[in-house]
C-alpha cells in the first residue's frame, strides 16, 4: 500500500491520466485506479470529489450532469486544454523521477 503522501501527490496526475482515456465519473475513476494499481492505491473515496472540484475550478477539467444507461444522473468529467498541458508536464516529471530511481536502484540488491 502506498504512503498517504505519495497517494496525495499522485492524485491529480492520476485523475488527469484516467480522463485522458475518455470522460468518466467519480466512482468509475476510483475503480479504474484501483484496478490499474492492483489495489495498491486506495483513495478515501469521498476525498476525491474536493480534488475534482478544485481541478475544475482551475479549468483542468470540466463536468456535466448526464443521465447514465441505468437512468441515474451522474456527473461526468472530461479533460480541458489546460488539463492536457498539465498532464504533459506532470508526465515528464514523473518519468524523470522514475528513471532516476530506476538507475539508482539498478545495481542495488533487492530489499527484503
Amino acid at each position: 500500500m502506498l504512503s498517504r503522501e505519495l497517494v496525495a501527490a499522485s492524485t491529480v496526475p492520476l485523475v488527469l491520466s484516467v480522463l485522458a482515456e475518455g470522460e468518466n465519473y467519480g466512482y468509475a475513476l476510483i475503480q479504474r485506479v484501483r484496478e490499474l494499481s492492483g489495489g495498491e492505491i486506495e483513495w478515501t473515496e469521498g476525498m476525491l470529489y474536493p480534488v475534482l472540484h478544485w481541478m475544475e475550478a482551475q479549468e483542468l477539467i470540466e463536468s456535466e450532469w448526464r443521465e447514465a444507461d441505468t437512468g441515474r444522473r451522474r456527473k461526468y468529467y472530461h479533460l480541458c486544454k489546460e488539463g492536457r498541458k498539465a498532464l504533459q508536464v506532470g508526465k515528464q516529471q514523473w518519468i524523470t523521477v522514475h528513471e532516476t530511481l530506476a538507475k539508482l536502484w539498478k545495481n542495488q540488491p533487492r530489499l527484503a
Binding site: 491529480v12 467519480g26 466512482y27 470529489y49 474536493p50 472540484h53 456535466e64 456527473k75 515528464q92
Partner: protein
C-alpha cells in the same frame, strides 16, 4: 423488550442525506454527487454478495464519514493547495502566476475590446444615426397624420430592436462573465473611470457602462446558477438543449429589459422622452457590437466551434 427495527437501505440513505444536508459546507450538487457515488458503491457490493446492511456499512466507510468529508470539502486539503498542485502537476509557482496574468489580460482584452466597439458604434450612432432617428420621431410627433401612419411602425421597430439588443446584451454579458463576474465588473468599472478621466463621458456612455457592469455581474450569477441546476435527461439532444438554454438565458434579459423600460415609461413619462429613447438606441448598437464581440470570440477560439459554444454556455 422492544423489537429491533429491520434495516432499511432507503431510510438509511434518506437519513444520511438529511444529515449531510445540515452541514454548512455541502451544496446540493455535492450531496447529489456523493449520493450517486454511494449508490454505485452499494450496487457493486451487493452484486458481490453482501447484504443491504453490510453493503451500507462498507460503502459509507469507503466514502468517508460526514465529519471527515466536511473537513475535506471545507479546506480542500493540503493535497489540493496550489503548492501541492504545483508539485503534482509539475507546474511551478512561476508558471501558475503566468497563467493567472495571461487569464487576466485575456479578460481585460475581451472587456476593453467590447467597450471600445460599443463606444465607437455609440459615437457613430449619436453623431448621425441618432439625429436622423430623432428627426423621424420629431416629425411623427408633430404631424398627427404622419404619427398615425408612422408611429406603429416606429414602435414595432423600437421593440424589435429592444428585444434583439436585450438578447445580444445578455449573451455577451454571460460570455464575458464566465467564472469571475465580480472581476469583470470591476474591470469594466475601471475602464469607464479611465475613459472618463481621459476624454470625459456623456450620459449615454455612463448608461452603457453601468448596463455592462450590471449585465456582466448578473450574467455570471445566472450562469453559475444554471450550471448547478441544469441536469439534462436526453444527452442526444444536447445541441438543441444548448440552443434552448441560450434562448432561455436571453429571454430572461429580454424580460428584464422590457419590464424596466415599461416601468420607467409608466413612472416617469418625461424621462421616457429624454432618456428611454436614447437608451433604446444605445441598446441597438450595444447589441450589434455585442454580437460582433461574441461571435469573434467564438470564431477565433482555438476550440472546435461546438466545444467552444458548449464551454461558453455551460460555464
Amino acid at each position: 423488550m422492544e423489537k429491533p427495527t429491520p434495516f432499511s437501505l432507503i431510510d438509511s440513505l434518506r437519513r444520511w442525506r438529511e444529515h449531510v444536508n445540515r452541514l454548512p459546507t455541502f451544496e446540493r450538487e455535492n450531496i447529489d454527487e456523493l449520493e450517486t457515488h454511494l449508490r454505485d458503491s452499494l450496487a457493486r457490493l451487493q452484486a458481490g454478495g453482501l447484504s443491504e446492511q453490510e453493503a451500507w456499512l462498507v460503502a459509507l466507510k469507503r466514502l468517508g464519514y460526514s465529519d471527515a468529508l466536511e473537513h475535506e470539502f471545507a479546506k480542500l486539503g493540503a493535497l489540493t493547495s496550489p503548492e501541492a498542485m504545483s508539485v503534482a502537476t509539475g507546474t511551478s509557482k512561476r508558471q501558475n502566476a503566468t497563467t493567472r496574468v495571461r487569464s487576466l489580460f485575456r479578460s481585460l482584452g475581451a472587456v476593453v475590446g467590447g467597450l471600445l466597439v460599443t463606444m465607437g458604434i455609440s459615437y457613430l450612432a449619436e453623431s448621425k444615426l441618432l439625429s436622423d432617428y430623432y428627426d423621424r420621431l420629431g416629425r411623427a410627433a408633430a404631424n398627427p397624420g404622419l404619427r398615425a401612419s408612422l408611429w406603429p411602425n416606429l414602435s414595432i421597430n423600437l421593440w424589435t430592436f429592444v428585444l434583439l439588443s436585450a438578447l445580444a446584451g445578455g449573451y455577451v454579458a454571460a460570455l464575458l462573465a464566465r467564472r469571475s463576474p465580480i472581476r469583470h465588473a470591476l474591470v469594466v468599472g475601471a475602464c469607464m473611470n479611465l475613459y472618463d478621466a481621459l476624454v470625459g463621458m456623456g450620459y449615454l456612455m455612463w448608461v452603457t457602462g453601468t448596463a455592462v457592469i450590471v449585465a456582466t455581474f448578473l450574467g455570471g450569477i445566472l450562469r453559475e446558477w444554471q450550471r448547478r441546476t441544469w441536469q439534462p435527461k436526453w444527452p442526444k439532444l444536447a445541441p438543441y438543449r444548448i440552443l434552448s438554454r441560450r434562448t432561455g438565458v436571453l429571454s430572461v434579459w429580454l424580460m428584464i429589459a422590457a419590464i424596466v423600460v415599461g416601468l420607467a415609461e409608466w413612472v416617469y413619462p418625461r424621462l421616457a422622452q429624454e432618456w428611454l429613447q436614447p437608451l433604446q438606441v444605445w441598446l441597438i448598437w450595444a447589441a450589434a457590437s455585442g454580437w460582433i464581440v461574441a461571435f469573434s470570440l467564438l470564431l477565433v477560439g482555438r476550440f472546435k466551434f461546438k466545444q467552444r459554444v458548449k464551454r461558453v454556455v455551460m460555464n
